[in-house]
Amino acid sequence: MANFYTDNKDLKHHLHHPLMQKIVALKERNYTDCEKYDYAPLNFEDAMDSYEKVLEIAGEISGEIVAPNAESVDHEGPQLIDGHVEYASGTKQNLDALVKAGLMGISLPRRYNGLNFSLVPYIMAADMVSRADASFVNIWGLQDCAETIYEFANEGQRMRFLPRVCAGETMAMDLTEPDAGSDLQAVMLKATEAEDGTWRLNGVKRFITNGDGQIGLVLARSEAGSHDGRGLSMFIFDHKNEPGLTVRRIENKMGIKGSPTCELVFKNVKAELCGSRRMGLIKYVMALMNGARLGIAAQSVGVSEAAYREAYNYALDRRQFGKAIIEFPAVAEMLAMMKAKLDASRSLLYETTRFVDMYKTYEDIARERTLTPEERSEMKYYSKLADAFTPMSKGMGSEFCNQNAYDSIQVHGGSGFMKDYACERIYRDARITSIYEGTTQLQVVAAIRHVTTGTYLNKINEYAAETYAPELKPLQERLAAMTEMYADAVNRVTSFKDTEYTDFQARRLVEMAGHIIMGYLLLGDATRCADFIKSANVYVRFGEAEVNRHYKFITEFVPENYAAYYKHEA
């Protein structure tokens, strides 16, 4: 009986982080819901016990149903039938199980039939489902879009759509168009207002994950004649009940083949405005994307976990020269690095999730009552950290995921290159994580201002001031030295006051901050649980070497050198 929650004690460790006491108390408004709902927690311990019990269900479904289906889903994939998507049979089974288990609308309030869970257990379920099948988490994880309806739609729309999501209807986030990928300001899909106040959508969307989902959120141009982001609004359309949307094509992808990536044609599709006109891109898509980025960070960690486990098990079994290959230093080091990157990116994922959870919960409370000045400043503090940590977690986590998938095949040797082992699917599935919801390069664009404005350095200094287990002192000293290099590198780059030059060095700077942050997070983990000491040791040494490398590059670089990077020839 495979259970992806109980077989991975790292998850329980992250679930029981000290900040959870505060997060859950805020989320549960001091446990007042239990008077109204008989499934609401009575107190903190009760809530945590429920999180664990529900994660055990998600872990069991991941291990017993989703993971065993992953190979057939990869082979079979979704089909396009009469303009609609038919999921692979395994995908249908997965979705049916998760819906019956009530694992839709996990973090939505109870009044919409949600579970009102903290984001942490939700992201943890996404972590496990991704380990089981990275393609399936896209379909299931699109319940994230419901958050956007909750935050920005009116109460009538919430009441109509959110209970449907909780009952198992899937969603889609229709943003990308043939000429509007990373640059969403170029979106062309037209929204016109009818006389009765409803809207009609006409145009084409491309690369839409689960484009045939029952409820869609669409970014469309509502202001005729406009050409930039200020002319775009967000719409909700009820694909289940309104005609006019056809799936023209399902893309044939390299990986996550079970997830239908659709080209959609809208012909006079009736839709309703979500929130205010002209705020579609400026406000709502940004919120939607941040949620989605956290989701991809979780997917990256889950796939990384799968890659590590495949490699570890193979290295234990495979014997060469009279012993298991795990006993050879070269293989052992690869596995230690894989585990360290996995642990580091997971720790960053849950730290980020807690930051998001804190500020979003305060935002939600602010809809009910005025926040106290202390609460308001705490909300701002966590909101800024969430903004800084989300692109870092997605960017670095997805790169580590790709590296682990690569190394997983390397550990398998020639067998890994054959279609016979799961590592080849994992390798293909991993590849998208550093591309969609903003490439790693775009995550750097989002993160760099937190380098230049000092968000990362301030947080690093807070981490440095925390108390760690005495045996970790040498690692703490290394991190302090790395921080000095980072601060110096930031000063050197920004002293030129040349944004183009800063952009050129941006990835190096963000990565330096990331290595230091993940190093400290692992020290925190190792202080609370000795199992992490190994990864803390491996990761801090790796991070130190990376920080040194970047530091050397930056300090020995003068802006005149970078012209060489722009003279491209075919």
């Binding site: 499934y39 609401a40 016990d49 429920s50 199980a97 288990a101 009530g102």
Partner: protein, 290 residues
Amino acid sequence: MSLNIVVLAKQVPDTRNVGKDAMKEDGTINRAALPAIFNPEDLNALEQALQLKDQNPGSKITILTMGPPRAAEIIREAMYRGADTGIVLTDRAFAGADTLATSYALSVAIRHIGSYDIIIGGRQAIDGDTAQVGPQVAEKLGLPQVTYAEGVKIENGKAVIKRRLEHGVETVECPLPMVVTVNGSATPCRPRNARLVQRYKYAVTPSEKANLSKDMMKLVETRPYLNLYEWSAAEVNADASQIGLAGSPTKVKGIVNVVFQAKESKSLEGKDDAAIEELVKDLIANHTIG
């Protein structure tokens, strides 16, 4: 129509994950070394009951299990999946029961429940593999029975049941009330539901309730559905001579620890169809296949 459905379930040692220490030296099961689980085919039975409840709103599912007080665990497990309540039939006097005594005890408990339209159980339990209890319960209650079921529906007040037989499928109709036993080949049971887990996790039997803190006891008292039932032999008016060891004609004479060894082997030569045919005939003759 709304139905009163009774699901017969058993908590069994997980014999599918047998390790070295699964058996004691005397050949009896070392229960401490095996986790206690919901008997797998009883889960198939529960799924049939849940489907009936889905199709017949207002129906009520009661889990009936005989065993030690800890068997209440499987009642909660069933409630997490959609059952409404449950009864643990527990008494030292029930101990040592064979299938006859068990089915007697279950049948008097069902009579004690009073109102029932359909009684559903798994075909057999993985610790005994007899497949006798369901049919015997039907006999003792004087009810019609259908075995090897894969699907149960109610149509025009009657049960319509698909049976999985050795060489095909048979669909039969049966008046209510009746007893049905369900095959492992039927739909697997749905997963535990997140909301139901939170609603029912504090459901307790009277003996479990006695160990609760004051606060929890108060909670259980304000939520009637958290109170499970625990019935003794006296409570169900069981005849002492028909339960437990006294009511069990089956006596275990001895237990032998069998270790499989290849005693004899036979080699067949040849590469053509005739050789394969000879092999298949041999396998059929010694009942390896067929």
